[in-house]
Symmetry: none
Subunit: 151 residues, 2 copies
């Protein structure tokens, strides 16, 4: 049965480092859930699993990185809503937010654009973000404005 098998898949990827679908097939086989690669591929798609590189240069299937409540999702609609203005000058981006929200928003911004951002300081309703260069500042600025539009 499909549901049992998919549950087992989740269990297996939690327990082991599953590097390929064939690898997973063997484990499933051993656990009493024979299936072919075609089926597993579809299971993986349905479960929204993804294959990532670990720190050690090996691959591994993991649960959905964009899942509700996951780190990537921390910058959610509510957070974006609380942004009132975004501007940039030089390599600095200034974000104004509703009172008291600056810290939460800053955390969200950091988590998304981490590679461009050198650091940020959040007060009560204002965030000063220092980015790599002016180009990165404009890009970050544009992106934030875009998100405001979209959410």
């Amino acid at each position: 049965m499909k549901n049992r098998r998919q549950d087992k898949i989740l269990e297996l990827i939690d327990q082991y480092d599953i590097e390929t679908q064939d690898n997973l097939i063997e484990r499933l086989q051993a656990a009493g859930y024979p299936a072919t690669q075609a089926t597993i591929s579809r299971d993986i798609r349905e479960l929204k699993l993804s294959k990532v590189m670990t720190g050690h240069g090996t691959y591994k299937y993991i649960r959905p990185p964009m899942a509700e409540g996951s780190v990537n999702n921390r910058f959610n609609a509510a957070l974006v809503d609380s942004i009132t203005r975004v501007d940039c000058a030089g390599n600095i981006v200034v974000v104004k937010t509703a009172a008291g929200m600056a810290n939460a928003v800053a955390t969200g911004i950091d988590s998304i654009y981490s590679s461009d951002i050198l650091g940020s300081v959040a007060g009560d309703d204002t965030i000063i973000v220092v980015v790599r260069d002016a180009e990165a500042a404009e890009k970050t600025c544009e992106n934030l404005k875009m998100m405001i539009q979209l959410m």
Copy 2:
């Protein structure tokens, strides 16, 4: 050349939904960075990008779920490694760690999820975390498990 191209790749995956490497090649081409699929594959590996399924059934490359300098990174690998089990019940999250590590881990957890966390008590190898509500508990739990997966 390689570095500029990789920067451009990050820029592109931020801006567009890149579904395949070929897709990315076209964008890079247009941006003045010609390269072959082999090169792109290696870039993606080096940047630790991963391909995930979006909510709409399409694929998309995203930045590493555990980027350098992101919030999650304050909670470093050594700390995460020492976690052996995470569970939640109601608005309580229970984290089991290697002997003697509970306090250090608890401090790390507090620093990340402070807004959801009411308080926590750490013994020698067990942490009891009291969070706002069951929903927050599940999110915290998921996030922790996610971190463990990736490290």
